[in-house]
Subunit: 388 residues, 2 copies
């Protein structure tokens, strides 16, 4: 079982803070956006005498309202197609356990969400990476490359769309290529759509928007980012494939029920007006524009414009972003500040890839981002391992 790839940096960040240095955390996906007060109020004003188990699949009322939410984004599912989970994390675990047998393989475009390898270990399955490249803005790898790695053990393709860590939003054409591949080889398409609401330039296309894929798609979802409620641990596994739904339901029965208080929160969130997202999306959009503009202005930095989520992947003019990230925390400060970034090696399965790339999250306000970018600019000018 692997450690989180980013854990090694934490002691250096703690040490920097103890020296009085302000560390701007661009390494994590924890937004500073307020959790909607009306949503918290639903929990805080609920009349609860006994906090009982909910049904294993989640409260019926919440599942019905979630179905309404999905209908609102053009995903035609019913309450019965939805299994409420403890965060998107549990949805990922249940999907792997339900769709793959131990020893089976799953194709995943890399760079990918850093926790996927741990879920693969937990479920006893193998990740087969296919590489996206910064030169192509981290677009979907050529479908022929994905087809080439299919073996008799391949059971699924796992995508994250909009993508963490790249911010890339897959186009309908790309998703239709993936669909055709899944149909040709009878593969599941596990689609992690945690960042659905955050598409700035590109239209959002869900795996469940694809015609002919009802029996193949398992959607992995969470309210963590949608409503800035990461700590609630409230997610969903959505599929119209009844055989998969049935197995996933057995895993849900195993742990009796998903978190109860968080379901009240999730249900209240479905009552937010559609305009709620206008505000948060506009805020992230501003942040992205600032972060990308500042990155592109730094000599030697290569940074595609990400169309979604709230991450930027940048290529830095350094020997190794693992070394650089540690140096930022250990040996650098500018006016009492520094920043923490995520070295991209942790997002790749292929050894050696991502050594010059890092992920930066724009989950802090523009003032913080601006200060962090000034730090990065100064740091790259000073860094002894600078390469370009």
């Amino acid at each position: 079982m692997p450690w989180s790839p980013f854990r090694k940096l934490t002691p250096y960040a703690d040490a920097a803070k103890q020296r009085g240095v302000v560390v701007h955390h661009l390494n994590i996906g924890q937004p500073d956006i307020e959790t909607p007060p009306s949503v918290l109020a639903a929990v805080q004003q609920a009349d609860i005498r006994v906090l009982e188990y909910s049904p294993s699949a989640g409260y019926d009322s919440y599942r019905r309202k979630l179905a309404g939410y999905y209908q609102g984004v053009g995903i035609d599912v019913a309450a019965a197609d939805i299994l409420v989970t403890a965060g998107g994390s549990e949805a990922i675990l249940f999907a792997l356990l339900s769709c793959l047998n131990p020893g089976d393989e799953m194709i995943v475009p890399e760079p990918f969400y850093g926790a996927y390898p741990s879920f693969a270990v937990a479920a006893g399955v193998h990740i087969v990476p296919v590489t996206s490249h910064i030169g192509q803005d981290y677009a979907l790898p050529p479908i022929a490359e994905m087809e080439r790695v299919i073996t008799p053990r391949t059971r699924a393709i796992l995508i994250c769309n909009p993508n963490n860590p790249t911010g890339y939003v897959y186009s309908r054409a790309e998703l239709e290529q993936v669909r055709d591949l899944c149909l040709r080889h009878d593969l599941f398409l596990l689609s992690d759509e945690a960042y659905r609401e955050f598409c700035y330039d590109a239209p959002y296309v869900s795996a469940l928007h694809l015609a002919g894929m009802d029996q193949h798609v398992v959607l992995l979802d969470t309210i963590s980012k949608r409503y800035s409620a990461c700590g609630a641990r409230m997610g969903a596994l959505v599929t119209k494939n009844q055989a998969v739904a049935e197995v996933a339901h057995k895993f849900a029965q195993m742990r009796v029920s998903p978190p109860g208080l968080a379901q009240l929160l999730g249900e209240a969130a479905t009552d937010l007006p559609a305009a709620y997202f206008d505000g948060t999306k506009a805020e992230y959009h501003r942040r992205r524009d600032l972060l990308v503009a500042r990155l592109q202005a730094i000599p030697g930095v290569v940074c595609p414009v990400p169309s979604g989520a709230f991450y930027v992947m940048a290529q830095l003019p350094v020997d190794d972003t693992v070394v650089f990230a540690q140096w930022l925390l250990e040996s650098f400060q500018h006016e009492g500040q520094t920043l923490m970034i995520s070295p991209a090696a942790g997002f790749y399965a292929t050894p050696g890839l991502g050594r010059q790339e890092a992920r930066l999250a724009y989950v802090r306000n523009t003032e913080v981002l601006s200060q962090a970018m000034t730090c990065l600019e100064k740091a790259l000018a000073e860094y002894p391992g600078r390469t370009a």
Copy 2:
């Protein structure tokens, strides 16, 4: 992956209710005891702007207070030994994933908690049952029988103490036999102590009270029953074995954090006065006494007196409790009432065992229990499959 063994009865219960029959649910471990209002208030009055991820191991403040709670029950652990989990369920899963490799074996006295086989499937490990018998009040099976089934793949013994479903509380002498066995064969002792607070006649002995076992014990815990907060999904994995703690922590990082709101609840619960348990324990004690007295008064029923938890296992004078449980829902009523019981076959791994036994939970008040016992008495008099 197996279905919950009790799922088949649910449609019959629903149908009975639709016919207007009152179904007394003695089949489930969902107490009617009020969740302490001060504990709910801690969540409901919390000042939350952004519901952020907690640390993967849980909030430090909660872990420190949990350590204090454990110290209070004579378990000498520090905050660092505690991993906060999404219910006891996640603690069970993480323990299996952390202590056993796929294909390894785990010895479990049967009858056992009905979800253990599902966790074993999820973790890819095998349950090796050793049978407890009603004739011995479901005491620990002879240690020689447990030793006989040890193979090179055996890595752990899993016990539930106080026991679900039998209510048996293992004595210190029994636990010391288990300890010696674990030490002789270098096995982990996974100890599910969800019902710690509910010992009526026997003293409670934790696996972590056993000398010399610090490197072997993994305690699986939950606040579900302790504070009647099943829906919170708040548990803990506790171990002084640093290697196990480290691997479990990696699984915790995989799912980022345990439920946040429920941690506030759990933390507030540690502030309840020790006298809190006097009230709930006395209530369950009354219920046990009533249920056991009523069961023992029914001709042909065999019912040991359980010393802990809130379950009774009884042998009924019927052909098959699966058939009888369905008949109770489908074909029987007494003054518009019937009851739902858990056929014990679902608690055994050995095929054919438990066919005359059923588990009855005393999680409803004495009036309900009394009505349910009247139903059972009448039902057994009428049941066509009666055997004695």
